[in-house]
Symmetry: C2
């Protein structure tokens, strides 16, 4: 089964079942988040210890594929990855960057955390700031929040007229399709936590003075409209999970599963890309002789 230098794994790992089809939101399908247990561990390792070990065990393969992706770009390959992380407050977007993206070579990662839009950003179409933060060929881009905020908080808090909001889903799909046409593999991940788990995590932030900087009283107001956010997420997942840019729902109440699952999704997509080291366009023997003469 293993091919030489194909960028595919060989050995027993190749026999593992892929996770992507299991977590992917089928294009055109309905999404009912209430029916998805946030503490589930579909296809995951047996428990926390095994999960942490399995995630660490992905580092070498991830790093190797990342280096090939980058190397290929130096010879004109425009392919790259964009990992989009969305989820309610405390769902672990930052923790995922730390623990999963932390396994990669930082020089090939382009990370952008989107906050509330600045006045300048508000004066531009909502995709303007997103276009400026895209990964370059060979890079792995990571969005901590994204253009989806413009159909999430924008919907729940009625920041734009409903008519304008309605058009954004199609705009997003066209935008993402155009990215895919340009070599971007989109991996959009919704980190799904439960209402109870969020309370627990917010309380932890309150109870630990070293975590106060992560807390804002506004977080409690956002929580008070939890059902409206779940509905806004369902709509975004239903309308914007496409063949070109699918959404994945990752149960995120267990941090070790969340990290393992996002790492695995990233790994599977990199393996699909199967980037190759480019051939040198120079005469190796001639260069070696010249070098040895120095």
């Amino acid at each position: 089964m293993a091919k030489k230098d194909s960028g595919k794994p060989d050995g027993p790992k190749g026999a593992q079942k892929p996770l992507s089809p299991l977590l992917r939101v089928p294009p055109g399908g309905r999404v009912g988040l209430a029916a998805v247990r946030a503490d589930a561990t579909p296809a995951g390792p047996a428990g926390k210890a095994a999960g942490v070990a399995a995630t660490a065990g992905m580092a070498e393969r991830l790093g190797s594929l990342q280096e090939r992706l980058y190397a290929a770009s130096t010879a004109g390959d425009r392919r790259r990855v964009l990992l989009v992380l969305q989820g309610m407050d405390t769902s672990g977007k930052g923790g995922t960057v730390k623990h999963v993206i932390g396994l990669l070579n930082p020089s090939g990662c382009r990370i952008k955390a989107f906050k509330a839009p600045t006045p300048e950003e508000r004066n531009h179409p909502f995709l303007w700031r997103v276009r400026k933060a895209l990964p370059q060929p060979g890079e792995i881009g990571i969005f901590d929040r994204s253009h989806y905020e413009d159909v999430l908080i924008a919907r729940v808090r009625e920041l734009v007229p409903r008519s304008q909001l309605g058009g954004r889903y199609a705009q997003i799909n066209r935008f993402e399709r155009s990215l895919a046409d340009d070599g971007v593999t989109l991996v959009k991940v919704f980190l799904h936590i439960s209402y109870e788990e969020q309370r627990k995590r917010l309380l932890e932030r309150l109870d630990n003075p070293e975590k106060h900087w992560k807390f804002a009283p506004g977080d409690i107001e956002e929580r008070s409209v939890w059902p409206a956010y779940q509905e806004a997420y369902e709509l975004a997942l239903e309308r914007c999970s496409t063949d070109a840019a699918p959404w994945f729902v990752v149960p995120a109440d267990r941090k070790w599963y969340r990290n393992w699952a996002v790492g695995k999704l990233l790994l599977e997509h990199l393996e699909d890309i199967a980037p190759q080291y480019p051939k040198g366009d120079f005469d190796v023997e001639e260069c070696r002789a010249r070098l040895l003469a120095t």
Copy 2:
């Protein structure tokens, strides 16, 4: 000796001798690179195994200080770090980013690799592209090459008239001083390798097809003017090692020492900054009560 929450290390680590004074180029001093052994390991661990372990052992402390630095910025602290990496081809700038910056949380790092200037960049003053890549408050910025190329390759290859070049050292010093005034701790590192080690590393790139993408025949031409580069580095180190922005010479023939030394320099500077978690500006008890009611 240990103070609670002071951001300083306690225990035996606090007793270690600092590395920074040992490697720092004294402001106004002369630099003779030929007299500095590139395979030396000043104040370093006893050997490779101990060095690799010591570097890995810094991860937790580095990560903790990095988080405090970032947390402080959310309350208005403008302090940040800018690590500048310079060195001849194959000196290990990329390897340092991978192995040392890879110990940190990638979301707090802003990495910029400077290539040959684009036509647009050439139409601007040489510091223009550098100003756009600076770390924001709370971040650790990393420059893989930097504005120093404009007094290095620019000098050796006579890309600008000598008169114009002469003014750049003072411009750089004013620029870096202004950064320091704005809360930037500059750590400028020259990765010092020997002529023989460079040959060995270039040969390795030629001998391994998976490393061909890192090689260009032009690397041999650059090597042919090695003495001119060493002189250009000596001038840059002499003229631009200031109190506000000192240069450090890191012997880099041994990769494990290079990684350990850069990690240690970063750690010592972060400990000097001693960033603190900010106090929350909210009523913890009131928030807890409101949260428990949800």
